[in-house]
């Protein structure tokens, strides 16, 4: 016996949005499908569309419901969905690999030990695994220029905190549900603060306002607090000492 696959799902986001969701968990194909479908929506150029974006496994259409009524928006999205297999889409070209020096634990990132315990690891082992994981920019969101990164190993599938962390600083590397978020500004969060970098992901007024693009890859090699302080002291472009290279297509 087979069950009907409910995905992709087409649902409304408040009054002025529709969300096309390709899976209820972040998988590589669902992330790729979201990126490709968003590109296709942009190419359609429907009247009444205000903007589009992607989340981890969904593509988002924001529109004026008085110009493009909900029923019509939904019909168009379903018709576009039917044109191809979106899960087989290719990743965007022109991607980069970023290696960003990171302090794990210490007073700069005080929840490393807590996260390690939740993952059933010693702090040393957690740092060894986290600092060698190569992760992808799955989406940019929550705050400007700020990536969700993954996937990390299943041992790091730890829940968010019940009580919000009142404030983590810019450049904080936080962990939950087998993903990192690298914060582009100080903010409260329900994720555990495991690492600290000097990268500045959103720099209004600079020629490049936003550093990353969805599909880029990142790695967070461990450095000492002293090394990070030196990087900060000589960092002029806001990349936090990152080494950047093109990923071959």
């Amino acid at each position: 016996m087979t069950h009907a696959d409910p995905f992709p799902l087409v649902r409304n986001v408040g009054l002025d949005g529709m969300l096309v969701t390709f899976a209820d968990s972040m998988t590589e194909p669902s992330n790729r499908a979201a990126l490709a479908f968003r590109g296709a929506m942009e190419a359609e150029g429907w009247n009444g569309v205000i903007e589009t974006s992607t989340s981890l496994a969904s593509a988002y259409l924001r529109f004026d419901p008085l110009t493009l009524p909900h029923a019509e928006a939904e019909a168009r999205l379903r018709a576009l969905l039917a044109t191809r297999d979106w899960y087989a889409a290719a990743l965007p070209s022109g991607r980069k690999l970023w290696r960003v020096p990171t302090v794990y634990g210490t007073e700069l990132a005080p929840q490393l030990e807590d996260a390690a315990a939740a993952a059933g690891l010693s702090a040393t082992e957690a740092i060894a695994r986290l600092s060698t994981s190569r992760v992808r920019v799955l989406t940019i969101g929550f705050a400007p220029g700020q990536p969700y990164l993954g996937p990390l190993g299943p041992e790091f599938d730890i829940p968010r905190l019940k009580e919000l962390n009142p404030r983590v600083p810019e450049g904080a590397l936080v962990l939950a549900i087998s993903q990192f978020v690298l914060f582009s500004g100080p903010t409260p969060t329900g994720w555990r603060h495991v690492g600290q970098t000097a990268i500045r992901l959103f720099q209004p007024g600079r020629e490049r306002t936003f550093l990353l693009n969805p599909g880029d890859e990142m790695q967070f090699p461990a450095v000492t607090p002293g090394e990070l302080a030196e990087i900060r002291a000589r960092d002029e472009d806001g990349t936090g000492g990152a080494q950047v290279e093109e990923i071959a297509a």
């Binding site: 969701t21 969904s58 940019i140 400007p144 919000l164 582009s184 903010t187 959103f202 936003f210």
Partner: protein
């Protein structure tokens, strides 16, 4: 033309209708917390509602005119005076060079607006003048700042009766894509609960308090981070609702029980601490109809502007006073 800031409240920012097109880089819309107030100010000054204004959360400031300049005051009413003489709110005024405009604390509501003839003409960034404090895009206005105004000509001495929206009330909501994460009894209880605006509120969002249990979704600590839109009512891990406002995040993992209609977000934002709030579900079709009516009302605002000069019709008892006086006189 410009205004020089001599004193200023702690949370005053330049705002217009916000910024579209950067959700894909995680930059949310921002813009005035009270969109209606922006339109009212534009109607009073006879200019475009795309003009930026100074949004003042809770407390105004003192402003000196560097040249003669037209102003208008809308949104949450504040005590207002020019060189010590009280002036009416929801009205346009001429501020002569050297005169000082003083705006106090809000009397009702949360966000007051100071509009300049020609609009506040700060440098736009990514297509908008809206400051986005959460994104560190710009900053609050400080003492010594100059608020530049665009080119301007026109009249003052006009008024507009505002739509009442400064003490909470019922907010219309639509089901959104995560509403189904909440079971039916929870949704019913949500709609039957009277909430109070909590002490935590800013342009990102506002906390609501209520008696009794929180409003939990199933498995809510581990759902996938997903798109957020202003007006979303987010449940934190403890089941306390937050209404998300123009500077909200673009995505997040806490589930949203419903979304406040765009036309009612301003009523939410203008609710003072302790103000009572209830929610009422409407269908998407009803919501679209309400949105159409709201936009028509905005377009009609300029036809509702009238001269500030005291009209006899504004003084309800005037006729009777005159009549009684006349009668007394006749019997003498």
């Amino acid at each position: 033309m410009s205004l020089i800031v001599r004193r200023i409240g702690p949370a005053c920012t330049v705002q217009d209708q916000g910024r579209d097109g950067y959700l894909d880089q995680g930059l949310s819309h921002s813009g005035a917390a009270d969109l209606l107030a922006l339109h009212e100010g534009a109607a009073l000054l006879g200019q475009s509602p795309t003009c930026a204004a100074l949004e003042m959360a809770g407390m105004g400031g003192e402003f000196e005119a560097a040249q003669d300049i037209r102003i208008a005051l809308t949104g949450a009413p504040m005590q207002a005076s020019i060189d010590g003489s009280p002036i009416p709110w929801n009205a346009s005024h001429l501020l002569l060079k050297g005169q000082r405009l003083t705006l106090g604390a809000v009397l009702r509501g949360a966000y007051g607006y100071l509009h300049l003839g020609g609009g506040v003409a700060t440098e736009p960034f990514l297509g908008s003048r809206s400051i986005h404090l959460t994104a560190k895009l710009g900053r609050t206005v400080a003492v010594g700042d100059t608020l530049p105004a665009g080119p301007d000509s026109g009249d003052t001495g006009m008024k507009l009766i505002p739509t009442e929206r400064f003490s909470g009330g019922t907010l219309r909501i639509v089901p959104s894509f995560q509403t189904a994460l909440f079971d039916h009894p929870t949704l019913e209880r949500f709609e039957q609960t009277e909430f109070r605006r909590g002490p935590r509120a800013n342009r990102m969002g506002m906390q609501l308090d209520s008696e009794g249990d929180g409003f939990a979704a199933q498995g809510q600590l581990n759902i996938l981070s997903e798109v957020i839109t202003p007006g979303d009512i987010q449940m934190t891990g403890t089941g306390n609702p937050f209404i998300l406002l123009p500077e909200c995040q673009t995505t997040g993992g806490y589930p949203r029980i419903a979304t406040v209609l765009p036309s009612d977000i301003l009523r939410a934002a203008q609710t003072p601490a302790g103000g009572a709030i209830r929610f009422q579900f409407v269908t998407l079709d009803e919501a679209a109809t309400l949105q159409g009516a709201f936009q028509k009302d905005l377009a009609r605002l300029s036809s509702r502007v009238e001269p500030l000069i005291r009209d006899p019709h504004d003084i309800p008892d005037l006729l009777s006073y005159q009549l009684i006086g006349g009668m007394i006189s006749a019997t003498e």
